[in-house]
C-alpha cells in the first residue's frame, strides 16, 4: 500500500468530519455576520457591516467585552496563584502512591460535569444556603451574606471550575524538571527563592502558558456560569451572544460579536507570544 493512500484512508474521515462540524459552521457564521437579517423564507436580506458597526457605536457592547476580558484575566490570575504552588507541592514535595492518588483526586472534578459543579456552588452560596447557615450558627447575628448573584460568586465558581486545568498543565511541566538540576543549583549556592524564580518558573513556563490559554479562552466565552451564579449581575459578552441566538434571534449580530470576541482573544494571545517564544 503506498503512503499516500494509507495516509488518506487514515485521516480523511476525521478531517472531513471536522470540516463539516467546525470549518463550515465557522464560515457560515462569518457569512451571517455580514447579513442584515436571518435569511428565512422571503425576508429581504442584504450585505452589511452594520453588525460590526453596532459593536463600535454602542458603548454597551464594548463595556461588556471589557468586563468579560477582565473576568478572564482575573480568573486566570487566581487560578495561577492558587494552582502553581499546588502543582509545585504535588510534583516536588510528595512521592509515590500518595502523589498519584492526590493528582487524580485533583483532576477528577476537572473532567466531571461543569454544569453540576456550578450548580453545587449555588447550593453553597445562596441565601439560606449552607455557608450562610453555618456562619450564622458560628457567629449568630451575622445575617444574610448576600454572596449569591454577585460578581465574586461568578469569579469563585469559575476559578473552581478551571483551577484543575492550571494545576494539570503546571504539574506536567514541573514534574518534568529533573531533580538533579535543582540539586545542582543548590550545590552552586542558590537559595530557595533563586531556584524558584530563576529555574522552576522559567522551566515551567510552557505549562503556565498552556494553562492560562486553556482557561482564558473558555472563560471569555462563558455564559452558563454567569447566568447561574450571577443572575442579574451576570451579563457578559458570552450571555449577550447566547441571547442573540436563543432569545432575540438576531443571529447576524451574535455572529459579529463572536468574531469580534475571537479577534480580540487572538490579539491578546499574540501580545503574549513574545514572552512564550523567549523561553522556548
Amino acid at each position: 500500500m503506498n503512503q499516500r493512500a494509507a495516509v488518506l484512508s487514515l485521516i480523511s474521515p476525521a478531517y472531513l468530519w471536522l470540516t463539516l462540524t467546525i470549518l463550515l459552521p465557522l464560515s457560515a457564521m462569518l457569512y451571517y455576520s455580514f447579513l442584515s437579517d436571518v435569511p428565512i423564507g422571503s425576508r429581504e436580506v442584504s450585505w452589511t457591516l452594520e453588525n460590526y458597526g453596532t459593536f463600535f457605536e454602542k458603548a454597551f457592547y464594548s463595556e461588556l467585552m471589557l468586563r468579560s476580558f477582565k473576568l478572564g484575566a482575573e480568573v486566570t490570575t487566581f487560578c495561577l496563584l492558587l494552582g502553581f504552588p499546588c502543582a509545585l507541592a504535588l510534583a516536588k514535595s510528595i512521592g509515590g502512591r500518595t502523589k498519584e492518588a492526590l493528582f487524580l483526586l485533583i483532576i477528577l472534578p476537572f473532567w466531571s460535569n461543569a454544569l453540576v459543579r456550578i450548580f453545587s456552588w449555588t447550593m453553597v452560596l445562596r441565601g439560606n444556603g449552607i455557608l450562610e447557615y453555618y456562619i450564622n450558627w458560628l457567629l449568630p447575628g451575622t445575617g444574610p451574606l448576600g454572596l449569591m448573584f454577585t460578581y465574586p460568586a461568578i469569579l469563585l465558581g469559575l476559578v473552581h471550575s478551571y483551577l484543575p486545568y492550571m494545576i494539570l498543565t503546571c504539574y506536567i511541566s514541573i514534574d518534568a524538571i529533573d531533580n538533579q538540576l535543582l540539586e545542582a543549583a543548590r550545590s552552586l549556592g542558590a537559595g530557595k527563592l533563586t531556584i524558584f524564580f530563576r529555574l522552576i518558573v522559567p522551566l515551567a513556563l510552557p505549562g503556565i502558558v498552556a494553562g492560562s490559554v486553556l482557561i482564558f479562552i473558555p472563560v471569555i466565552g462563558s455564559f452558563m456560569e454567569p447566568r447561574l451564579l450571577g443572575g442579574r449581575n451576570g451579563t457578559f459578552i458570552g450571555t449577550i451572544i447566547e441571547d442573540q441566538f436563543t432569545a432575540v434571534f438576531n443571529w447576524p449580530l451574535g455572529a459579529a460579536l463572536s468574531f469580534i470576541m475571537m479577534g480580540l482573544v487572538l490579539l491578546v494571545l499574540l501580545g503574549f507570544s513574545p514572552l512564550v517564544r523567549r523561553f522556548k
Binding site: R4, A6, V7, L10, I11, P13, A14, W17, L18, L20, T21, I22, P25, L26, A28, M29, Y32, C86, L88, A89, S93, I94, E100, L102, L104, L105, L108, P109, W111, S112, N113, L115, V116, R117, S120, W121, R126, N128, G129, I130, Y133, H160, L163, L168, Y171, I172, A176, K192, P218, S222, M224, G238, I241, E242, F245, T246, W251, G254, S258, M262
Partner: protein, 259 residues
C-alpha cells in the same frame, strides 16, 4: 525543607477540600427531606424516588447515553486512525493538520455551538440528537488523538517492521500487532470521549431540539426554572457516573504523568 514540605502538603489538602466541598454539599442536599433545602439536613431518599417517576429525565438520560455511545464509537475510530497516521508517516501539511485538530478545544464552545446551530440550520441538518452526535464527535476527537498519540509515543516501530518481515500484510500488522498494543490507550480514549460527551452542555444546549434534550440540558433548564432537590439527586448520579468513567480512564492512561 521539612517545614516547606509540610506547608506544601497542608496546602494541597486545602485545595482538595476547596475542590470537593461544594460537590459534597450538593450531594448531601440531595438526601435532604426538605423541598426548600431547609437545614439542618433530615436524611431522606425521597428525591431519588421522585427521579424514578420523572419520565422527562428518563428520556434525557437515554438520549445522553445514546449520543455518548455513538459519538464515542465514531470519535475513537477516527481519532485512533489519525494518531496512527501521524505516528507512522511524514507528509506535507502534517504540522498544519496536527494543529487543525485542536480548534474544538481552543475556540470557546459558545462560538462552536452557535456556529453549528447556524450552519446545521442553513444546510438542513437541523437540531436534534443527530446534530449533537455530529458536534460531540468533533469535540472528543482531539482528546482521542492526544490520548492515543501519548500511548504511541512509547511504541517501538520495529514491532511493525518485525511483523512485516515475518510475512504479515499491512492490515494484519495493524490489527494483530499495532492495535492490540494500543488497546489500553484506545480504551482510555473511548472512556474519555464518553465522559466528554456525557458532560457536554454548551453544544448540546444549542443543538437540542424542542423536547429532545440530554441530561445536562435538562438539568440547566430545571435550575433556571427553580431549584428542587430532585436536581441534586440527578446531578449526584451524573457526577458519580463521570467520576467512575474517569477512574476507568486513569487505569489505562496516566494523566500528564511520565510513562
Amino acid at each position: 525543607m521539612n517545614f516547606l514540605k509540610w506547608i506544601g502538603r497542608t496546602y494541597l489538602i486545602c485545595i482538595v477540600v476547596f475542590l470537593y466541598v461544594p460537590i459534597l454539599v450538593m450531594v448531601a442536599l440531595s438526601f435532604n427531606e426538605s423541598q426548600l433545602y431547609r437545614l439542618p439536613i433530615e436524611w431522606s431518599i425521597r428525591w431519588y424516588e421522585a427521579l424514578a417517576n420523572n419520565s422527562k429525565l428518563h428520556s434525557a438520560t437515554v438520549n445522553s447515553l445514546t449520543v455518548a455511545f455513538l459519538s464515542t464509537c465514531l470519535s475513537t475510530m477516527m481519532g485512533t486512525a489519525v494518531a496512527l497516521a501521524f505516528y507512522r508517516y511524514d507528509f506535507r501539511a502534517k504540522r498544519l493538520l496536527q494543529i487543525l485538530i485542536f480548534p474544538p478545544i481552543t475556540i470557546p464552545w459558545l462560538i462552536i455551538g452557535t456556529a453549528m446551530l447556524v450552519f446545521f440550520f442553513w444546510v438542513g441538518i437541523g437540531r436534534g440528537l443527530h446534530a449533537m452526535v455530529l458536534g460531540h464527535v468533533a469535540l472528543s476527537l482531539p482528546y482521542v488523538v492526544i490520548v492515543v498519540s501519548a500511548r504511541l509515543k512509547s511504541f517501538d516501530s520495529a514491532l511493525e517492521d518485525a511483523a512485516r518481515s515475518l510475512g504479515a500484510s499491512y492490515w494484519q500488522t495493524t490489527l494483530w500487532v499495532t492495535v492490540p498494543w494500543l488497546m489500553p490507550g484506545i480504551i482510555a480514549a473511548a472512556l474519555f470521549a464518553f465522559a466528554v460527551s456525557l458532560d457536554q452542555f454548551v453544544i448540546s444546549y444549542f443543538l437540542a431540539a424542542p423536547g429532545v434534550t440530554t441530561l445536562p440540558v435538562e438539568i440547566y433548564t430545571a435550575i433556571r426554572k427553580g431549584l428542587t432537590p430532585e436536581i441534586n439527586a440527578i446531578s449526584t448520579l451524573v457526577i458519580l457516573l463521570s467520576m467512575l468513567l474517569l477512574l476507568g480512564v486513569s487505569r489505562f492512561y496516566r494523566f500528564g504523568g511520565r510513562d
